[in-house]
């Protein structure tokens, strides 16, 4: 049962990390244009790095 004191914080921590990542993605507007993003990877114009906004 002592394992719980490690496992529970670890699982909560991982979940929180996921949540923070989601909030960051949302805030930086990565869900604004899913169709455009899917097409942009086919363009060789900004092949090496993402296009600066």
């Amino acid at each position: 049962m002592e394992m719980l004191s490690i496992l529970i914080p670890v699982s909560l921590g991982l979940g929180t990390a996921g949540l923070v990542a989601f909030i960051w993605a949302l805030r930086s507007r990565q869900f604004e244009d899913p169709k455009g993003d899917a097409e942009r990877i086919l363009s060789d114009k900004w092949d090496d790095r993402p296009k600066p906004d």
């Binding site: 049962m1 719980l4 529970i8 699982s11 909560l12 979940g15 929180t16 996921g18 949540l19 989601f22 909030i23 949302l26 869900f31 604004e32 244009d33 899913p34 169709k35 455009g36 097409e39 942009r40 086919l42 363009s43 114009k45 906004d53």
Partner: protein
């Protein structure tokens, strides 16, 4: 003028001037810095690159970013207006339209959408983490371990419910304040009661806590809310994109000099100049000039009408060949356009408000849920006298009946269906349009501009001797008259050398060809007699010493028109053709499309009355039309569709807009709407079936948090999967 009425049609049909001024002021503000253009034809990676490269290469543009999902481009270009950028895109082959200031409200809609997404994310996180702990409890965690797990769950669930539940609490509070019971009242009650009772149970180290149920409720209901929001936002931005942006202005003559003024400021008695190709801004009498007038959008007539001094013109008609000076007789609210607007207003009132399936369901749902919860509370209190048990059971009833499936039933279907229609080229502007479309049993088509393209084409160049073709082409190129344009486009010969080319507004074009006078124009001008009752329009070519040649034009069928009519008839719908055009032209088209039921020379009031008549006989009418003369009928009909080429007044009055030129999506939309409504009903049936099993268990006190969680997620997933079957 058309714009003026459009703004009137949308919000407040009677007042035009004030909102117009407001809109113009708003637009000036938006124009600074960023310009948003809609790109209806953009669809791939190449399109993105082309548009962005072309725009950023234009001097003054700082940044351009295409959003392919919304099919628009945001351009950061201080000092540049949309009019500077649209030609840039036209040169690389992309059609672009400026978006009006309503685009601003679309960004607030985006903010709302992001806000909902954030709450979905938070509740999803909470739901999954609590579920890990709950599974441990369900599989037999005991005493101290169970209490610890409950406490941790509570620590996650309470802030989540507080944050993610806000949209429900807010709208529930708004409903209670006006004394109504919306869907959100039982939802909020369930969330609060479930959290409160779980906290109490945890403190008393009880066996059951509903923290997972509370988080899960938030998660599923928010998804429904988000889908609903997205459908609405898309509909709203579609409507915003459609409001055309030409500023309604008129050229006022003050002491012989032209001044550009807003149409709203015109007064009766003012003299205005109307150039060829322009729309007539106000009703008036011709003082000077001769021309021909295209009345297609007002009356559905395909043939241009001769206009000369002394004749009365109505706002909305298009001046074709010569400049005209008009004395305004009625402007703004007295004009014939405004009278049409009043007609539309009356028609809309007569149609009444449509109660959607979701509304009807929630009207039944809320009171019955409250009643059931209250009854089980009272019943258990009376039987056992145990307050804790009774409250627990009442909470279980609320949780189990909670409309996860019900909340997803409609939005999931609407999202799938409108997405599919959007890809086929049909924009839905109104939330209940699909449901209304599904009930349609009669389809009324307009002729000019709807079943036809409203564009004349040469029937055949056979009557034209080969040696006269270059002359005909050269004469045709000298005029902007629709028949001339069509003739010039139909002929491929090298135009002949002509001298002394003169356009006689209202009559035709004359010139000299190697010393011989040649003329192209109206029959009466050339001194020949024509048959007015033919279904086609005609122009004549006369060369001295040769017999005049009659050139016949017909209005080209819209692509897919025949297919669309055939499919609708096959689906068992009654198809009618009601037009303002001449009987011969209407009968000819009806015969070509196989429509038996057709009326010609019907005025706007007549169209509306016919639609009202059909409705009075118990029919549900779908009106498809594009002209000003159709707007009242569009507003009166049970459901309405207009093509994108329609006048904006007509597009505003209709529920759906065809983005492409093909008519087939109309027939597909009717079929899909029926399918979508069937799916919605199935979804309601699924959630009711699930309630029939779960509610008696809850009332009997047999529902544990495990059963509640299972039932809730299973029903929501079933409903969503059922909706997804609509996608193509």
């Amino acid at each position: 003028m058309a714009d003026l009425t459009a703004s009137g049609f949308s919000a407040c049909p009677a007042c035009d001037a004030a909102p117009l001024a407001q809109r113009l002021a708003d637009r000036a503000e938006v124009a600074q810095g960023t310009v948003i253009l809609s790109l209806p034809t953009a669809h791939c990676a190449t399109c993105i690159t082309d548009v962005e490269t072309a725009l950023t290469a234009h001097p003054g543009v700082r940044n351009a970013r295409v959003n392919l999902t919304l099919r628009r481009v945001t351009v950061e270009a201080p000092g540049l207006a949309a009019d500077d950028l649209i030609p840039v895109l036209a040169r690389v082959g992309y059609e672009a339209h400026e978006l009006d200031p309503d685009a601003l409200s679309a960004t607030t809609a985006d903010r709302q959408g992001r806000d909902l997404l954030m709450r979905i994310g938070v509740s999803g996180f909470a739901m999954m983490n609590i579920m890990i702990l709950s599974v441990a409890v369900w599989s037999g965690a005991e005493s101290a371990t169970r209490d610890l797990f409950h406490w941790i769950s509570g620590a996650i669930a309470l802030p989540t419910v507080f944050f993610a539940g806000q949209p429900f609490f807010r709208s529930a509070w708004a409903a209670i304040r006006v004394g109504r019971l919306g869907m959100d009242v039982p939802i909020s009650l369930a969330l609060i009661l479930a959290s409160a009772i779980s906290v109490y149970e945890t403190m008393e180290s009880g066996h059951h806590a509903y923290f997972d149920a509370a988080a899960m409720l938030c998660f599923f209901l928010l998804i429904g809310r988000y889908l609903d929001h997205r459908t609405r936002a898309i509909a709203r931005s579609a409507a915003a994109e459609l409001t055309a942006l030409e500023v309604p202005r008129a050229a006022l003559l003050v002491d012989g000099a032209e001044q550009t003024v807003p149409v709203a400021s015109l007064r009766p008695g003012d003299l205005i100049r109307v150039r060829p190709g322009a729309r007539i801004p106000a009703d008036g009498e011709i003082v000077e000039g001769r021309s021909e007038i295209d009345r297609a959008l007002l009356t559905g007539e395909t043939l241009p009408v001769l206009a000369q001094p002394g004749q009365m013109l109505s706002a909305g008609e298009v001046n074709l060949t010569g400049p005209l000076t008009l004395r305004v007789t009625a402007a703004g609210r007295d004009s014939s356009l405004a009278r049409l607007t009043t007609l539309v207003e009356a028609a809309e009132a007569a149609r009444g408000r449509y109660t959607s399936l979701a509304e009807r369901a929630s009207r039944l749902y809320s009171p019955s849920v409250h009643l059931m919860a209250l009854c089980s509370f009272a019943g258990w209190m009376w039987m056992t006298g145990d307050l804790r048990l009774a409250v627990n059971i009442a909470a279980a009833v609320l949780i189990v009946t909670c409309p996860c499936a019900l909340g997803l039933a409609v939005p999931a279907v609407a999202t799938a269906a409108s997405g599919r229609l959007f890809r086929r080229g049909l924009l839905i502007k109104d939330g209940t349009a699909l449901e209304r479309l599904a009930e349609v049993d009669t389809v009324v088509f307009d002729k000019t501009g709807t079943l036809t393209l409203g564009r004349p084409t040469l029937v055949s160049d056979d009557p034209l001797p080969a040696d006269l073709r270059p002359v005909a082409r050269a004469l045709a190129q000298a005029s902007a008259h629709p028949l001339s344009v069509a003739l010039a486009a139909a002929l491929t010969d090298e135009p002949a050398e002509l001298s002394e080319v003169t356009e006689h507004p209202g009559f035709g074009v004359s010139a000299r060809w190697g010393g011989r006078p040649v003329r192209l124009g109206r029959a009466d001008w050339l001194g020949v007699s024509d048959h007015e009752d033919r279904p086609t329009s005609a122009t004549w070519l006369a060369v001295e010493r040769q017999a005049p040649v009659r050139l016949e034009f017909t209005d080209e069928l819209r692509p897919g028109a025949a297919d669309c009519v055939a499919r609708l008839r096959k689906a068992g719908l009654r198809v009618l053709l009601i037009s303002g055009d001449r009987p011969a032209a209407v009968a000819d088209l009806a015969a070509r499309l196989g429509i038996d039921d057709h009326r010609a020379a019907v005025d706007p009031q007549g169209k509306e009355a016919m639609v009202a008549d059909l409705a009075a006989q118990g029919g549900h009418v779908l009106m498809v039309g594009d002209g000003l003369n159709d707007t009242a009928a569009l507003a009166r009909a049970h459901a309405s569709i207009s093509p994108a080429s329609a006048l904006d007044a007509a597009r505003v009055a209709s529920d759906m807009v065809l983005t492409g030129s093909d008519l087939v999506p109309v027939a597909e939309a009717v079929a899909l709407a029926r399918l979508a409504t069937r799916r919605i009903r199935q979804n309601f049936a699924i959630s009711i079936a699930y309630n029939i099993v779960a509610v008696p268990l809850a009332v009997a006190g047999m529902v544990t948090p495990l059963i509640a969680a299972l039932a809730m997620s299973l029903s929501s997933i079933t409903v969503t999967l059922n909706a997804l079957r609509l996608r193509d």
